[in-house]
């Protein structure tokens, strides 16, 4: 462990805002890239099955 306290970890010698904004942004970009196709796949199944059920009626 490189840091003595949580305070020190968050500040990172004054570079904290830079470091954490990069890490948070990276997580958002990576997670977004996985969630979007997941959502699209789910929506495809729901829309198509809805359409098929309407066609059957």
């Amino acid at each position: 462990m490189q840091f003595e306290s949580l305070q020190e970890f968050i500040q990172m010698g004054g570079h904290g805002p830079y470091v954490f904004s990069v890490f948070i942004m990276s997580v958002l970009v990576l997670v977004g890239n996985v969630l979007r196709p997941l959502y699209q796949k789910k929506r495809f199944y729901l829309e198509q099955s809805g359409r098929r059920q309407r066609d059957q009626l």
């Binding site: 462990m1 490189q2 840091f3 970890f9 990172m12 010698g13 004054g14 570079h15 904290g16 830079y18 470091v19 904004s21 990069v22 890490f23 942004m25 990276s26 970009v29 990576l30 977004g32 890239n33 996985v34 196709p37 997941l38 699209q40 796949k41 495809f44 199944y45 729901l46 198509q48 099955s49 809805g50 098929r52 059920q53």
Partner: protein, 266 residues
Amino acid sequence: MWKWIHKFGSPRPFFEISERCLPWLGGLALLTLTVGSIWSLLFVPGDYQQGDAMRIMYMHVPASILAQSSYMMMATAAAVFLIWRIKLADVAVQAIAPIGASITFLALASGSIWGKPMWGTWWVWDARLTSTLVLFFLFVGIMALRSAMENRNSAGRATAILAVVGVINLPIIKFSVEWWNTLHQPASFTLTEKPAMPVEMWLPLLVMVIGFYLFFFTALLMRMQTQILSREYRSDWVARLIEKNGIEKNGIEKSIKGKGEQNNAV
């Protein structure tokens, strides 16, 4: 060999095999990236010159490497589509473009945030940064070109040609730090040479690079799957999947019944 390519190269086997691979690939990506992030944030010693700002490297460098190699993969898929007309290659081109664009954006933005405390500026118009910005515009251009064209075949061919022509940008990015004077340092982490930093610094970087690649293939397979579904929605095997994964009649009946019971209870 050809038989194998033919089998794996057609949509249905590809979809089924990737369905089986995805949980493992995704889990491994999550594990590697989590370990790498904790390692690089908490346990890597700070740089004697840059202090803790150096930790930005553990996101910036993998993103930059992946940005370039994902373009290379997209261009390869584009060439395969142009030469052999394999549809799955076109699906891959379409799937890589948005992932590549977002990763290139990440490389640019993280570099910019790193530049502020180290160089004293968010941005300089030097060769490395400008050519990476061009890479971002290439990815976005390929997405825009496809969405602008109605016909799928001609859209596929046009984007594939643009992707192949854009490869010229990759050596420019790579050698920009050697050909021109720039604030950006030359690569300190390559496949062929000994890294210019101690092992406790480059080992977590290697973990992050592997994690980014695992993430890339996870996202790629997922996007290709949704592309395949929407392209093949008329075929029987997709119909069966829709039946299995869509609104189930049982599910609706259950929820109606459930609500009725709730009302009775009130």
